[in-house]
Amino acid sequence: MSAIRLEHLTKKYEVDGQTVVALDDVSLSIDSGEIYGIIGMSGAGKSTLVRSVNFIEKPTEGRVLIDDVELAGLSEGELRKKRSEIGMIFQSFNLLEQRNVLSNVCFPLEIAGVKKKEAKEKARKLLKMVGLEDKEKAYPSQLSGGQKQRVAIARALATNPEILLCDEATSALDPKTTDSILALLKDINSRLGITIAVITHQMSVVKKICDRVAVIDKGRLVEEDTVEKLFETGEILEIFNNSGLAAAGGE
């Protein structure tokens, strides 16, 4: 069953009277429980693509289906509930600076109306899973980038989502920290069976954790295949070179 299905997504913006096409007829489907990579250069449209999945950006045309439910058909309230069932982490972490680590992880639970005590218990479990059980009293400003992303992951998992969206989640981190975060994502995927969509411009990220990958260029889906196949045949390099994406091929 597909957890996420995107059908003929097109997104257009009006910028200074000119129409910019960020997404151009993109269709793809992500199976339940897989780690799916979406790779492309900055400006290729992959951020718009991932924001369409939880309707932070509403596509101009096309359909988004989460577990076969079409998002466009939901009311605002239903949509917010759906969003809370889809975890998302960002390049810039986006933690609440005024709250400590534990309170950051509790936050989505508080919003969902979970009792304080239960929320704390749940948050402590999650912090243990991401390896930060000893940091619950620290504030985000006292953490390293990798630690902040771990908090963000714990927060994203607090509401038991079945889908986790990662928008350039490792792009602000050094290679070693990147590896540890990727290992954590892989662990979460295999332990909790959460479907993960990974947006990145780093080929190494795709290679390390993704099952399948889509290549996005200039708003279009130019290739989609299993990671093994794309890397085995060197096809991905070819695609990258052809679309002038060689620069994105490295770290």
Binding site: R51, N54, I56, E76, R80, K81, K82, R83, S84, E85, I86, G87, M88, F90, Q91, S92, N94, L96, E97, Q98, F107, P108, I111, A112, Y139, P140, S141, R155, T159, L165
Partner: protein, 229 residues
């Protein structure tokens, strides 16, 4: 010594009590205006950060009027001008509160607007991703983080408002400065040196009001720098 510097006059009759009462008037006007300004400024600034073209255009005219118009002229316009032109009977104190709030709301709203738009767009996006509605986004995510950026400048605004209330004597309000003048004039013969002592005391009173406010601001800044920022 006390006589030479003119402090002695403060101990004559009920002069010191009168000065304190005058300071009370100044503070009453300040506190009411500051509360109105901070409250409404916060609301208006929040709307401004949403970048509605018409609202922002109107606001920019309003802000420029407040910025370029001397507070004294505003006081005169409202107290002498508006009462005549619109034939409404406005007491001096409410007129002063209106002028100071008119000023404070504009500046506060602009500070709030700037603080809110300085919050990275990612914070709005992640709030949406967590399933928050607009009100929750502002209440739990944006405003708490914006307030930290707001503290230094809004404290500056508050102290500026407090000290500028000394202008209200020009529309006939007997506040601390006016009381000071009255004391000096009444004692012209017996204490010819009173001016220094009285005005120095007025200065001290303003200082003792504004200084703690500024200390609190410093303390908060320091706390957030270590703990949160």
């Amino acid at each position: 010594m006390a006589e030479k510097l003119g402090f002695d006059i403060l101990l004559k009759g009920n002069n010191l009590t009168r000065l304190f009462a005058g300071m009370g008037v100044a503070l009453r006007i300040s506190v009411i205006s500051v509360v109105i300004s901070l409250g409404l400024g916060l609301v208006l600034g929040t709307f401004l950060s949403m970048k509605k073209p018409v609202l922002n255009a109107v606001f920019s005219v309003y802000l420029n009027i407040v910025r370029f118009m001397p507070q004294l002229v505003l006081l005169f316009i409202v107290y002498f001008g508006a009462t005549k032109a619109m034939s409404i009977n406005l007491e001096a104190e409410p007129a002063a509160v209106i002028v100071f709030s008119f000023w404070g709301i504009a500046e506060m709203a602009d500070l709030v607007r700037a603080a809110l738009i300085s919050i990275p767009v990612g914070q709005y996006e992640s709030s949406m991703a967590l399933g928050l509605n607009t009100l929750q986004t502002y209440v739990y995510v944006i405003i708490p983080q914006a307030i930290r950026r707001l503290i230094p400048q809004s404290i500056n605004l508050v102290t500026r408002m407090i000290k500028t209330t000394s202008l209200v004597m020009m529309i006939g309000i007997v506040e601390v400065l006016k009381v000071g003048q009255q004391i000096i004039e009444a004692g012209r013969k017996t204490s010819p040196n009173a001016a220094f002592g009285v005005f120095a005391t007025v200065f001290l009173m303003y200082f003792l009001v504004c200084w703690p406010i500024s200390l609190i601001s410093k303390k908060l800044e320091k706390k957030w720098e270590n703990g949160y920022g």
